[in-house]
């Protein structure tokens, strides 16, 4: 495939789902098969194109045209493909396709399926735009359109009273981060005179250290919002109010992956900014542990998975912070596979049991054997059980963090921090994943629906089974030097004794959960957490902190400003008007008089004016 054709295909990649979305949104009442064909077709074409590109793109490919002109600043619209971009595009296409197919059955009795499928297409298009974008402003378009799609889709379910609130929260929290993102991009444009990514990266040396640190920290704010990093992670667990396939989409390949991808793409900006990398390391370490700990005490199966996403994205940002974007991207790809699998499988369980609460599950492995095996693969991949996908990528992050404290772009203490929290998180991940597995599939059924579950229609199980394949096997790509070099590694992963260090932590985490559960298979191992359980379930009350420190002050300020605007600013205007009318009325009244007094007044005035005239002009003469 020629370079021009590759660039054209890169444009097609985002354009096809966009067109599918546009048609779908214009025909909200189209029959279901048409809506489904549009959604699945758009995703399938995008996936196919991405696969073709993945096999053909070997080096950077770029094509762009001028999009808009603001004085001396030009915005371009174009594609910038490289092996990393097309691999991420493959993951996006694959997950989007799985989600579209799965949704047909999952939303079988939803009368707003048409707009839903179109919004998923738009979401896919926006993420693909971010992936292939050659210009920062163009990237921002995809970035924010994704945000609004998440808003629309999280708020989709009309039966959930919490859905609108969760949708607004998702958009607003990420939007707050995006203030920084926009300012960072604007500063880059102003300082470097261009928004084109290639030119920006080549002109990094023109920036002085302080500016570079400021810019990267601003960009990081946007990344923290989109990728749900502390302290802007609060929207992601609430986003569970969206339909389950949407959770798969948001958590696996779009939205949360975008932040990691963008930092990896712009890494030449970050590498010379150790202060930013150290900040990122702290954020990553907190996020990893926070997410994993919160996952330990959740009752809702999707919330466990949501918190695990927060934690796993923390691994990726941790890898970025120690200067290893390839390791972050490797984990991004494996995580996309197993997290999509986990959510879609959880959707099957919810579909079968009719509730999200693990307290009403138990013993499901007999009724849902396919889902059981798929979920087992997914959870084992998440925990990092060899030889499943998560093992390779997570291990790579731990080993690069270890290596980074002797030679890396980040301060040694930051690398230590990432390494240590990554190891600890391995154990906690083992614990909560085992808890979820045991509580869902083993022990006695704890609800009427859990006694006779049934496997779903094939359109739901096929995507689940299909995603189980990369969840199990993608890690072996780490042994293929060609693949790893495409991601930016120097070669294949090294199999050394150090691999066994995280395994010890896996065994500890899984073992403790299993021992706790075995004492009484009917109860929740989380009870062993004691008083900490509530704190973890509430995720350290950070929602309440956010409410108290941000939301309530802003609302109070808004009320005060409105009152001031009405009483002081407008009050002054109204008072001027009233004053003028009052003065007029007063003068008017003074002029209303009966004839004798009026005549006296006129005569008196005539005398007065006469006197004045005499005094002035008489004196002058």
């Amino acid at each position: 495939v020629s370079v021009q054709a590759q660039a054209a295909l890169g444009a097609v990649l985002a354009a096809v789902p966009f067109v599918a979305a546009l048609i779908g949104l214009l025909l909200p009442r189209a029959p279901r098969p048409v809506a489904a064909a549009l959604g699945i077709g758009g995703a399938a074409v995008a996936f196919a194109v991405a696969v073709v590109l993945a096999f053909s793109v070997n080096g950077p490919v770029e094509a762009s045209r001028r999009w808009a002109e603001f004085g001396d600043l030009h915005v371009t619209f174009g594609v910038r493909l490289d092996p990393v971009a097309v691999l991420v595009a493959v993951a996006v296409g694959a997950v989007a396709l799985a989600v579209q197919v799965y949704s047909v059955a999952y939303l079988a009795d939803d009368d707003r399926y048409g707009p839903y499928a179109a919004q998923v297409s738009l979401f896919t298009a926006a993420m693909l735009l971010v992936v292939v974008s050659g210009d920062l402003i163009q990237l921002l378009v995809g970035w924010e359109v994704m945000g609004i799609c998440s808003y629309l889709l999280i708020g989709h379910d009309r039966r959930l009273p919490e859905a609108p609130r969760a949708a607004v929260k998702a958009f607003l929290v990420t939007r707050v981060g995006d203030v920084g993102f926009l300012l960072g991009i604007a500063l880059l444009g102003v300082k470097l005179g261009t928004f084109r990514i290639t030119e920006v990266l080549s002109r990094v040396p023109q920036l002085d250290k302080g500016t570079l640190t400021a810019i990267t920290l601003l960009l990081l704010a946007g990344v923290a919002g989109k990728s749900a990093q502390f302290p802007l992670h609060t929207w992601l667990p609430d986003a569970m109010a969206g339909p389950t396939p949407i959770s798969a989409l948001i958590h696996a390949a779009t939205m949360v992956a975008a932040g990691v991808y963008v930092v990896a793409r712009l890494f030449p900006l970050f590498r010379p900014a150790p202060a930013t990398l150290a900040t990122l390391a702290v954020v990553a370490a907190i996020t990893m542990l926070l997410g994993a700990l919160a996952a330990c005490a959740q009752q809702d199966i999707k919330r466990v998975l949501a918190w695990s996403t927060v934690s796993q994205i923390g691994y990726m940002t941790g890898a970025l912070s120690v200067g290893a974007p390839p390791a972050a991207l490797f984990h991004l790809l494996t995580h996309a596979a197993f997290k999509a699998l986990l959510f879609l499988a959880a959707g099957v369980i919810i579909h079968a049991v009719g509730t999200n609460r693990m307290a009403a599950m138990g013993g499901l492995r007999r009724g849902l054997p396919v889902t059981f095996w798929a979920m087992t693969i997914g959870l084992a991949a998440l925990v990092g059980v060899p030889p499943l996908a998560g093992f390779w990528s997570k291990d790579e992050i731990i080993s690069v963090a270890w290596a980074a404290h002797s030679n890396g772009p980040t301060p040694p203490w930051a690398a230590w921090l990432v390494w240590l929290s990554a190891l600890l998180t391995v154990a906690i991940t083992g614990w909560y994943a085992t808890r979820l597995w045991l509580r869902t599939f083993f022990g006695p059924p704890r609800g009427s629906a859990a006694e006779r579950p049934h496997e779903p229609p094939w359109t739901m199980s096929v995507p689940v089974v299909a995603l189980a394949v990369p969840s199990a096997l993608l890690g072996f790509a780490g042994l293929a030097p060609g693949f790893m070099r495409r991601l930016g590694f120097e070669g294949r992963v090294h199999l050394t004794g150090a691999l066994f260090v995280p395994l010890v932590f896996v065994v500890v985490g899984v073992g403790i959960a299993w021992l706790l559960w075995r004492r009484d298979p009917g109860t929740d191992p989380a009870r062993a957490l004691g008083p900490a359980r509530r704190v973890l379930a509430e995720a350290f009350y950070l929602d309440a902190v956010q409410e108290a420190l941000v939301v309530r002050p802003v609302v109070a300020l808004a009320r005060a400003v409105r009152r001031t605007d009405e009483t002081v600013v407008d009050g002054a205007v109204e008072a001027t008007g009233r004053g003028a009318s009052g003065l007029g009325a007063l003068l008017g009244r003074a002029h209303r008089a009966a004839l004798p007094r009026a005549a006296t007044a006129v005569l008196a005035a005539a005398v007065l004016f006469g006197l004045v005239a005499v005094v002035i002009f008489g004196g002058a003469r």
Binding site: P28, R66, W67, A68, E69, F70, G71, D72, L73, R112, P115, I137, L140, V141, W143, E144, V145, I148, Y151, L152, G155, R158, P161, A163, P164, R165, A167, V168, F171, L172, R175, V176, D178, V179, L182, L183, A186, L187, G189, V190, V554, V555, L557, A558, R559, V561, R562, D565, V569, D570, V573, G577
Partner: protein, 495 residues
């Protein structure tokens, strides 16, 4: 007179003919009068579009204003007043926007006449407003500019006072008195400039025209105050929410869509163009006030409980971005202001159409009494969502470019703190619009709604705005490439 000059005149004469035709129609043929007015509006729109086709290459190189088409006739020879019209890249998008919105409003009035009827007069007044607004955008003579600026005032007063809501009288009075106050300042400012410079020709005046520094500072202060009332810029904005809340739907659309633009256009064309020294001197104050408008507008919206009032206050914030762009005195800022103007006209026009439709159907505009529109009128809810998302500046839709690049221009100018606060204001816009959507569209339906489906006339009059909000987002060059040279020339003048 050449064809292009005839077209220029036609954009003013056609709506004027429409005014007479609509007003002269007897009351029993009310509909006929409305049709006649709408035809005039349509012809005006076509004439405005045709102005694009015969674009001449800029005639006078080096001149700060290079009109594509120009007509220069003596008007009052004794006073040396000239009837000098022209369009260039700065004014042309606004001319088309004005013609389009007037046409859509007239078409909407064909279908629906607000109480107390007499739709032909409403159409006539809308066309009279159009004459004034187009005159403002096309005038290349300062006195002609002022006269056109004033033409708009009384018809708009009548539109609010006759077809408005319950408190229409007070709102109309406030509107007319407040903006008259602005006009007085404008009049003084215009005559300071004209008497000192000895000419009213905008092309000759642009760039300072030999005005002394003191004159420029004085003139700019007067002009900027006048335009700030019209735009409106905080804290001179309080006529706007009242006028919008009470105005009929079409009045609000014209008011927000194009009437406010006279203020920002005047600020750019006259304020920055004619008194650049004054603009340089006052620009930090202007920038700070613009940012205050953005933040205060956003905060008031967040605590607002009435639909149309909320959209009116959101206009204060959006126009704040436009003024911010102008205040930077950079080409980037001028371009951002121009596309921001057009985008605000399109999006807020659409928002007011939708707010009117919702108020008509639900018989209330109070947010707590609305709800569940997604259930009762899904298409209307979808369109409101679309317009709100466009208005909060989502990249990919029209509103983004003006606001993002106003921030970029502010950074370019070196006003980092202002840029940061303005960007935070953009996040506030997201907060209040999502709050609005949550209250109006989500949740259970509060009650049955009259005519949940949209009428054909509604779709026809809203459709162009829906398409434009997306098209300008995807192809901003449609506006920006027209104005690139003019914006650069203006920035050069102000340097």
């Amino acid at each position: 007179m050449k064809v292009d000059q005839a077209l220029l005149v036609a954009t003013l004469v056609l709506p004027a003919v429409g005014v007479i035709a609509a007003a002269a129609t007897p009351a029993r043929h009310d509909r006929l009068g409305r049709v006649a007015g709408t035809v005039a509006a349509a012809l005006t729109f076509l004439a405005a579009l045709a102005l694009l086709a015969g674009r001449r290459p800029p005639a006078r190189h080096g001149a700060p204003i290079r009109p594509w088409h120009e007509l220069d006739l003596p008007w009052v020879p004794g006073l040396d007043l000239r009837f000098h019209l022209g369009v260039d890249g700065v004014s042309y998008p606004l001319v088309v926007l004005t013609a389009l919105l007037t046409l859509l409003c007239c078409g909407y009035t064909l279908w629906r006449v607000p109480e107390p009827g007499r739709g032909r007069l409403l159409v006539g007044l809308l066309l009279a407003i159009e004459v004034g607004i187009l005159g403002v955008f096309e005038a290349l003579d300062l006195v002609l500019f002022f006269v056109s600026f004033e033409i708009v005032l009384l018809p708009m007063y009548a539109v609010i006072a006759i077809w408005g809501g319950e408190r229409r009288r007070a709102a109309a009075r406030k509107f007319v008195l407040y903006t008259l106050f602005g006009s007085v300042l404008l009049l003084v400012g215009v005559f300071v400039v004209v008497s000192k410079a000895g000419t009213a020709d905008l092309i000759r005046l642009t760039g300072g025209g030999g005005l002394g520094r003191g004159t420029q500072l004085l003139a700019f202060t007067l002009l900027a105050l006048a335009f700030a009332v019209k735009s409106p810029l905080w804290p001179l904005h309080t006529w706007l929410p009242d006028a919008h809340t009470e105005a009929p739907t079409v009045g609000s659309v014209i008011l927000a869509g194009v009437l406010l633009k006279m203020g920002t256009y005047g600020l750019l064309r006259i304020g920055v163009g004619v008194t650049p020294e004054g603009a340089r001197w006052a620009s930090p104050v202007l920038g700070a006030l613009a940012v205050a408008a953005i933040v205060i507008g956003g905060l008031v919206c967040l605590a607002q409980t009435e639909l149309k009032r909320l959209i009116a206050y959101s206009s204060v914030g959006h126009m704040g971005f436009v003024v911010l762009g102008i205040a930077t005195l950079t080409a980037t800022g001028a371009q951002a202001a121009l596309i921001g103007n057009v985008a605000h006209g399109v999006i807020t026009g659409l928002l007011f159409f939708l707010a009117g439709a919702i108020k008509d159907r639900a018989h209330t505009g109070r947010l707590p009494e609305l709800g569940g529109l997604r259930e009762s009128a899904p298409v209307l809810a979808g369109l409101l969502g679309y317009a709100a998302i466009a208005s909060l500046g989502l990249p990919g839709l029209a509103g983004f470019w003006g606001e993002a690049f106003a921030v970029v221009a502010t950074l370019q100018r070196g006003w980092t703190a202002l840029a940061v606060v303005a960007a935070l204001g953009a996040a506030l816009a997201a907060a209040y619009f999502l709050r609005l959507l949550r209250q109006v569209t989500h949740g259970p339906a509060v009650g049955p709604i009259a005519h949940p489906r949209l009428a054909g006339a509604e779709l026809l009059s809203w459709g162009p705005l829906v398409v434009l909000a997306l098209a300008l987002g995807l192809v901003p060059a449609a506006v920006l490439s027209l104005s690139a040279d003019a914006a650069r020339a203006l920035a050069e003048v102000a340097r």
